[in-house]
């Protein structure tokens, strides 16, 4: 090699190294900036600005595939233009570029889109955009988005080096974007979890905090929702020399059921104030619930009024699992009088019945989450087991019997997860 050639070679080498150094510093700059921010939008914003700066283009854009509806491509889009230009990418051009990249999963470099064979532009479409460099954002082989740069400045063309640089930026950005998305997803889930916790607290406060203490009577109640919140409701309301009590079960589970449960509670409490008989209370709860719920949502509901001076319970059963009264000698009476479930039909006139409560009698009101407790073989705890438990342990206190029934259902279900809300209300006359 002569001296002149050597100088030329060295010059080229220096140029190449300088270019590499530049690329490295660009990447370093992006990496540093990205790692200092975690918000998805900020990250994308930053990538777009760095592309404009380092590729020396008029515009750049990052578009992300919507994760939830991947068939509707590229919903998220952040586009920035250099201050001196404010040109927009025509929609049709944009969709053709994305279509091409989604199909080919490789970079697209077009320096004169008017003459490019891949696209059939009409002149008006392409009037503002001359050159395009687009690179897919790939994660595990799938396109998660696209980075595009439009119009190299000073009428320059995009080069293979530009393509290489943008590809490296894309590779680095993909992982960061995926991470940021995961983080956002996690934040949303955490927020949802917090909301659920709050909802559960609200619901606990809707249920009575204290069980009424009545001379001669022993009362206990419990509600164990299957999820954070549930659709079962029970209540006790003191009214003169009486205790109005109820137990209801809303169709479904979770938040939708919990919302209706709150509605039922407010409705019931207001109607107890207005009406004096349990059939009138139930009749108006039905009308009000019917008017404020979807046609396929209903509540099974049992309400009773305990007259503890005269030892009588007047009750109305709106399609709820029949409560059982067990007397000292083990005799059982089921409480079925009433009408259909609440909330599906207007104009129902509910009926009521009155039963006498003797010393030692126990009334057990329960939701189907008790009897429908399932074991791993898919068998149900069932009415018979419940009845037998009540009869066998009828001498326990209300709280003792309640605990026993819950334990029995838990033993029965074993490892099987609780699938429905369990609620129990027990009233026992002690003297």
């Amino acid at each position: 090699m002569d001296r002149e050639n050597q100088t030329g070679f060295l010059r080229n080498e220096i140029k190449r190294l300088r270019k590499s150094l530049e690329e490295l510093s660009v990447l370093n700059e992006i990496a540093t900036a990205i790692s200092s921010t975690l918000e998805l939008n900020e990250i994308i914003d930053l990538i777009v600005w760095k592309c404009i700066k380092h590729l020396d283009t008029e515009q750049a854009a990052v578009m992300l595939l919507d994760e939830k509806t991947p068939d509707k491509p590229l919903q998220t889009m952040i586009r920035k233009a250099d201050k001196q230009t404010n040109r927009f990418i025509p929609f049709r051009l944009n969709s053709q570029i994305t279509g091409w990249i989604l199909k080919n999963k490789k970079p697209l470099l077009v320096n004169d889109i008017r003459t490019d064979e891949k696209f059939k532009w009409s002149l008006s479409d392409s009037s503002m955009i001359k050159s395009v460099l687009s690179v897919p954002l790939l994660h595990k082989g799938e396109v998660i988005g696209i980075i595009s740069a439009f119009n190299k400045k000073n009428e320059n063309n995009f080069t293979e080096e530009d393509k290489r640089l943008l590809s490296i930026i894309a590779a680095q950005s993909s992982q960061t974007i995926v991470n940021a998305r995961l983080l956002e997803e996690e934040k949303k889930l955490l927020q949802l979890e917090q909301e659920l916790k709050t909802a559960a607290e609200i619901q606990v406060n809707i249920l009575p905090k204290e069980i009424p203490e009545i001379p001669g009577y022993d009362i206990a109640a419990i509600n164990i929702p299957a999820r954070e919140v549930g659709g079962d409701y029970y209540d006790f309301i003191q009214k003169e020399n009486r205790i109005v009590f109820c137990l209801g079960d809303i169709t479904g589970k979770g938040i939708p059921a919990a919302l209706l449960m709150a509605n039922l509670q407010a409705t019931f409490r207001s109607q107890v104030k207005i009406h004096s008989t349990v059939k009138d209370i139930t009749t108006s709860c039905n009308t009000l619930l019917k008017n404020s719920t979807e046609i396929d949502k209903y509540a099974t509901f049992f309400a009773g009024i305990l007259d503890y001076k005269n030892h009588k319970i007047t009750y109305c059963n709106a399609g709820h699992n029949e409560p059982v009264k067990v007397s000292v000698n083990g005799e059982t009476v089921r409480l079925s009088k009433g009408g259909i479930v609440l909330g599906i039909m207007n104009g129902i006139m509910y009926e009521e019945d009155t039963i006498q409560i003797e010393t030692g009698d126990i009334l057990v009101v329960y939701s189907d989450g008790i009897t429908e407790t399932m074991n791993s073989q898919g068998a149900e705890f069932g009415e018979n087991r419940l009845l037998q438990t009540i009869i066998d342990y009828r001498n326990l206190t209300a709280a003792g019997l309640l605990e026993k029934i819950i334990k029995e259902t838990e033993t029965f279900s074993g490892q099987e997860l609780q699938s429905d809300d369990k609620t129990l209300l027990i009233i026992r006359r002690v003297k």
Binding site: Y298, G319, I340, V341
Partner: protein, 117 residues
């Protein structure tokens, strides 16, 4: 759940198979019923012989369709319900609302009797 539709003596029979759990899987069922109502076919029989399980939201779906049909001046009747479902209809007292028949033929026949009467 899955369902098949057939017609007999002017009644439309919906034969349901599987678990009746309500929710979004019933949309198709609801829409098919509406389609027949639009055609003026308002005698509906729901054959539940193939239903292995029903919960309260599944009942909700039957109630919804019962109401839809009734609002159009028609009637939705149930046929061949299993023990569990009979129990559920009895507890909820929805057996006061739904007409229940032991066989699909009886349910179909009941429409003819009403028409002749």
């Amino acid at each position: 759940m899955k369902f098949k539709v057939s017609e007999k003596y002017g009644a439309v029979i919906f034969s349901i198979k599987g678990k009746l759990l309500g929710g979004s899987e019933t949309n198709d069922f609801n829409e098919t019923i509406r389609k027949y109502l639009k055609e003026g076919k308002k005698n509906i029989v729901v054959d539940l012989s193939g239903v292995s399980y029903v919960n309260s939201t599944g009942m909700g779906m039957l109630i919804r369709n019962y109401t839809t049909v009734a609002n159009e001046g028609g009637k939705l009747k149930l046929a061949e319900i299993n023990e569990r479902m009979r129990g559920l209809l009895s507890i909820t007292k929805l057996n006061q609302i739904f007409e229940i028949y032991d066989s699909v033929d009886e349910a179909v026949g009941s429409f003819r009797q009403t028409a002749e009467a």
